[in-house]
């Protein structure tokens, strides 16, 4: 094979080669970064997870540990594991005549094994917490009338308050924290005399294994075997607190998906730039053929050219990644502390290179096999690119050539996903996505061709879409697939965020006050003197659906979220602000007299639990009193956060008399919560105040960090999307240029042509965007509901905004290419067209 030929071609098709190379480079760079960085992220997230749990392996029980478990822990310690015992209990701390119900955390001196405890004095915990001392949450000081240095009564000892507890990485997320946390030293445990028979204490042993987390799961298995009838729970940082774990898992899965999406988007970019290359070089190809070169010869040469360019792309990608990675701590301060960033991972780079290179070849194959269709006749009889259309036989050959490469790619992708089934699902889904995009686009274009509209510009633009050689179906399919991928990613990200993050919007209530009695609402509101909403709660059980008794699904096991548990019902006439109806026109049906008969509106989650539908009759037992109500509407919550919600809502009349209490949801500045608690403790001592402030702050902190991470990876795939746009438009540049020349010869001005192409590009972008929405919505729904087990919001407005942006971007991105269309002299252009 003669190298000079390849270089000549490379020189002649600079622009396309650049796009192709950029696509490969981008894919390789993002894969390398994501991949090598994936391990950093995993480590970072695992570190975070570990810090959240304070150990590799946790053993918890509500009773003192069994002898067998103690022996097992001693064995672990003998093998070099660090052991930290903790006791968590609620008790009353007293000072003068104040007492505050507090969460007492008694810990051994090596606490915490992982993560950190931030004290007001910024001292390390071990330095501050000595026997005979106690460290309290800052809100406790005003509530007990304390200052640092005072003594406080805990059980049967007096402990000196030495510091304030600002943040504990290991216990940040607890919704039902009934009192402020305090830390005490294990040496004082016996003297306090709070942990003894009949006490409600959570016993905990946290261990740090010398081999780190990988060993935790095996150790956990053997410990679980000796745990006594489930009373001793053994968890690893990876399994504990399923919510946190699920968040991390989802995040990692999502990052893998984005990296792959970037790869595939780049692949599509390669496809379109290779198409553009073959198209622009078709005269040259025809000449070569006329001189006696056969298709196989040319195919080999162009394949070599592609391989060369792809190799360039791979190298550029690795270089890019290498340059980029050290910048991470600068780009994401706080998200990636410098010590978490390792040098570029060679294995990751190799893996990414293999993926990028293979994908480039695979995606270039289609356009390259179309070389066969370029006939020498082209030189004599000009047919604008129509010769490039694939024939049935051609498709078979193409498939046969592509199959082995595709299989290799599938193998690599599946390996990348670390889970065969998910990998196959992903690829299958993608293939289906492309196919659907192709079908929809073809349909839309056939329709556009038939359409006979009279205004000149839109008609010309629409006709332009089916311009021979324009390959609009391919371009729109490409764009739509890319956009659908982007939109799907966007929607999944949005739902991830909604489920985990915006569930805690800044205006969400941060304080809940429970047990407000029926006649106390007004008094409470006057006392609290903050705007708040009262939610009425009536406890009841569901006894039957359509007369069929509701039975326990799992006998003997705790039935926490089954239909047999007690439910909180409420009565009101309108929807809560963050709910909407999915079935039924209004919350309740009125009868002929305009009154509300006895009926019930149910939340979608409970509908799914009980397979209920509109018109079903539910029988409740309101603390022994039966009540029958027909389902007249079904509601959904807009967010899955901390805002209150009710499974069953009934019209007021029927429940007003039933036993009920209320809770208040309040948004107030965190600094004022202690004052409210003190006030209520004095005036309405039976009320319980839940302060979610620390929790929401912590979630906000963690969430903000991950939003930035996720956004960064999403941005990479958006850049790939822009390359595709560019590549696609390059591919259809020639026929467009020709048309512009004809229009100008007929006397059309530049503005006119500009307008036609702008409208045409907008139509192209719009078609792609609409197809993308049609595909992305169900795809994202599927991913969220079945892949990630999240609730799903379609975010139509955001989808439409994205579609509009994509449409505009397509319109704008196409403009620079057109300037060339209108600048050069017409005579030259005509001649070029003819002679090329």
């Amino acid at each position: 094979m003669r190298i000079p030929f390849i270089f000549r071609e490379l020189r002649a098709s600079g622009r396309q080669a650049m796009v192709l190379m950029s696509c490969v480079a981008l894919a390789v760079a993002s894969l390398t970064v994501v991949d090598s960085f994936h391990s950093d992220v995993v480590r970072l997230l695992r570190g975070d997870a570990r810090a959240l749990h304070g150990g590799d392996l946790l053993i918890e029980s509500n009773y003192p540990f069994s002898a067998a478990m103690e022996r097992a822990v001693a064995t672990l310690a003998a093998k070099g594991a660090k052991v930290c015992r903790q006791w968590h209990l609620y008790s009353l701390l007293r000072h003068d005549d104040h007492s505050v119900f507090s969460q007492l955390n008694i810990v051994e001196p090596n606490y915490p094994l992982y993560g950190q405890v931030e004290l007001q004095s910024a001292r390390p915990l071990a330095e501050a917490l000595k026997p005979g001392t106690i460290i309290v949450a800052p809100e406790l000081l005003p509530r007990l009338g304390l200052k640092i240095g005072d003594f406080v009564q805990a059980g049967e000892v007096r402990l000196q308050v030495v510091d304030c507890l600002m943040r504990e990485s290991s216990r940040p997320i607890e919704i039902f924290r009934l009192g402020p946390p305090v830390l005490a030293h294990a040496a004082d445990l016996a003297a306090m005399n709070l942990v003894r028979e009949g006490s409600r204490t959570q016993y905990k042993i946290a261990t740090a294994l010398p081999q780190g987390p990988p060993a935790a799961e095996d150790e956990a298995k053997s410990l679980r075997a000796i745990s006594q009838n489930g009373a001793e729970r053994v968890e690893t940082a990876a399994t504990a607190r399923s919510g946190v774990k699920r968040f991390f898992d989802n995040l990692l899965f999502f990052l893998s998906l984005t990296a792959l999406a970037t790869l595939l988007l780049s692949g599509i970019g390669v496809h379109s730039s290779a198409t553009a290359l073959v198209r622009e070089r078709q005269t040259a190809i025809a000449i070569c053929k006329a001189m006696g070169a056969d298709s196989a010869f040319l195919f080999r040469r162009y394949l070599a050219l592609t391989a060369l360019v792809a190799t360039g792309g791979v190298l550029a990608g690795i270089l890019l990644a290498a340059l980029f990675k050290p910048l991470f701590p600068l780009l994401f301060p706080g998200v990636f502390p410098a010590e978490h960033i390792t040098a570029l991972n060679l294995a990751a780079a190799a893996n990414a290179s293999a993926l990028g290179f293979t994908a480039a070849l695979l995606f270039a194959l289609g356009p390259l096999t179309s070389l066969k269709n370029v006939r020498p006749m082209l030189l004599l009889r000009r047919e604008t690119a129509s010769g490039l259309a694939a024939r049935a036989g051609q498709a078979l050959i193409r498939a046969a050539v592509a199959a082995p490469v595709a299989i290799l790619l599938v193998f690599l992708v599946v390996r990348h996903m670390e889970d065969t089934r998910t990998g196959l699902y992903f690829l299958g889904g993608l293939a289906a996505l492309t196919f659907v995009a192709f079908i929809l686009t073809s349909l839309a274009l056939t329709l556009a061709r038939r359409l006979d509209i009279s205004p000149l510009i839109p008609r010309l633009a629409l006709r332009g879409l089916s311009r021979p050689g324009n390959a609009s179906v391919a371009v729109i399919t490409t764009l739509a697939t890319a956009l659908a991928l982007l939109l799907t990613m966007f929607l999944v990200r949005k739902n991830l965020e909604d489920n985990y993050i915006t569930s805690f919007p800044p205006d969400a209530p941060n304080v809940f006050v429970l047990n407000i009695q029926k006649d106390e609402g007004e008094r409470f509101q006057q006392l609290a003197a903050v705007p708040c909403r009262l939610y009425l709660v009536i406890r009841g059980r569901l006894k039957a659906i359509n007369g069929k008794p509701v039975l326990a699904e799992r006998d003997g096991k705790p039935a926490i979220d089954t239909l047999t548990r007690e439910f909180s019902l409420t009565y009101q006439e309108s929807l809560l602000p963050d709910e909407h109806l999915v079935i039924g026109k209004s919350l309740f049906k009125k009868d002929a007299d305009g009154k509300l008969p006895l009926q019930v509106s149910v939340l979608d989650t409970v509908r799914d639990m009980g397979n209920m539908k509109l018109g079903d009759v539910l029988t409740f037992s309101i603390q022994g009193v039966p009540l029958e109500a027909e389902i007249t509407s079904i509601r959904v919550r807009n967010h899955a956060g901390l805002s209150p919600f009710f499974y069953f809502v009934l019209p007021p009349k029927y429940l007003e008399k039933a036993p009920q209490n209320a809770f208040a949801a309040i948004r107030m500045p965190p600094g004022q919560v202690a004052a409210l608690q003190n006030l209520l403790a004095a005036k309405m001592p039976h009320l319980t105040v839940l302060d979610l402030g620390p929790l929401t702050a912590e979630i906000g902190r963690v969430a903000g960090k991950f939003v930035r991470l996720v956004n960064f990876f999403a941005a990479l795939s958006i850049i790939a999307g822009l390359f595709i746009l560019w590549g696609s438009l390059l591919a259809s540049r020639l026929p467009r240029l020709a048309e512009a020349v004809y229009y100008r010869v007929m006397g059309a001005g530049r503005g006119f042509i500009f307008l036609i192409f702008l409208v045409e590009n907008l139509a192209l972008g719009l078609a792609a965007a609409l197809v993308a929405i049609v595909i992305a919505q169900p795809a994202a729904w599927l991913l969220c509901r079945h892949g990630l087990d999240l609730s799903y919001q379609p975010c139509w407005l955001a989808s439409l905004a994205l579609a509009a942006t994509a449409t505009l971007l397509t319109g704008i991105a196409a403009l620079p290419g057109q300037c060339g269309t209108t600048r050069s002299s017409l005579a030259t252009s005509l001649k070029e067209q003819w002679q090329e």
């Binding site: 059980g155 009192g179 039975l551 008399k657 039976h686």
Partner: protein, 217 residues
């Protein structure tokens, strides 16, 4: 297990004998007795199906003994004594003959000043007596981690009020069940079905006494 078998056997013997002796049990024709089990999650049977909680089990036992009665589960999980006081009218609306009253544990678990449950329970018991309802008071003992000052104040509420109102009194609702891992759910607070069997055993004699008292009126 042996204990249970013995109990079952003695029941059979008792049933076999009943024709020859003076009827200790009401005839089927006697009006149905309404017993309302009022309380928190311990009564409601948090984490067990309703038929596994003590009211349903008690009803089965009483019916097996020939009493024509129903035991209504009016337990509400998470209920404090303040909640109980607010819904007393609703309970009275069921026209109970007998009320088994168990409350206050949630006040204690939230560290509410013991004066609050004392006052609430006192009011409830007064109302029940005014309405002529035969009442069994189930006592509660607070978990020791709250400290001796608190638990001493709290634990005293029940015997004091039982004495004041001269009630049938069960000194500790969870007697023989509390702090036993095998009888409780993993949270260490709520009994399993097996735990409720013991509770029913403990209540049964009081229930019989209450029925006798009610008949005496």
């Amino acid at each position: 297990m042996k204990h249970l078998l013995f109990a079952a056997a003695s029941l059979l013997v008792f049933a076999a004998c009943q024709d020859n002796h003076k009827p200790a049990v009401a005839k089927p024709a006697a009006p149905e007795i309404t017993i309302v089990a009022m309380g928190d999650s311990l009564t409601a049977g948090y984490g067990v199906p309703e038929e596994g909680a003590y009211p349903a089990k008690l009803e089965r036992r009483l019916r097996a003994e020939g009493y024509n009665c129903r035991v209504v589960n009016a337990g509400v999980s998470g209920e404090t004594s303040s909640d109980a006081l607010s819904r007393l009218d609703w309970i009275l609306g069921m026209k109970p003959d007998i009320v088994i009253f168990e409350s206050g544990a949630n006040d204690g678990l939230r560290g509410i000043n013991p004066a609050v449950p004392r006052e609430n329970i006192d009011k409830i018991l007064t109302r029940l007596q005014e309405k002529g309802v035969v009442t069994i008071l189930a006592g509660m003992r607070m978990v020791t981690n709250l400290g001796s000052t608190y638990i001493n104040d709290f634990n005293a509420i029940y015997p004091d009020l039982a004495k004041k109102h001269r009630l049938l009194f069960m000194p500790f609702f969870l007697d023989g069940v509390a702090a036993k891992p095998e009888l409780n759910q993993d949270d260490g607070i709520h009994p399993r079905a097996a735990g409720y069997d013991i509770i029913v055993e403990n209540i049964l004699p009081l229930a019989r006494q209450a029925i006798a008292q009610w008949r005496g009126k």
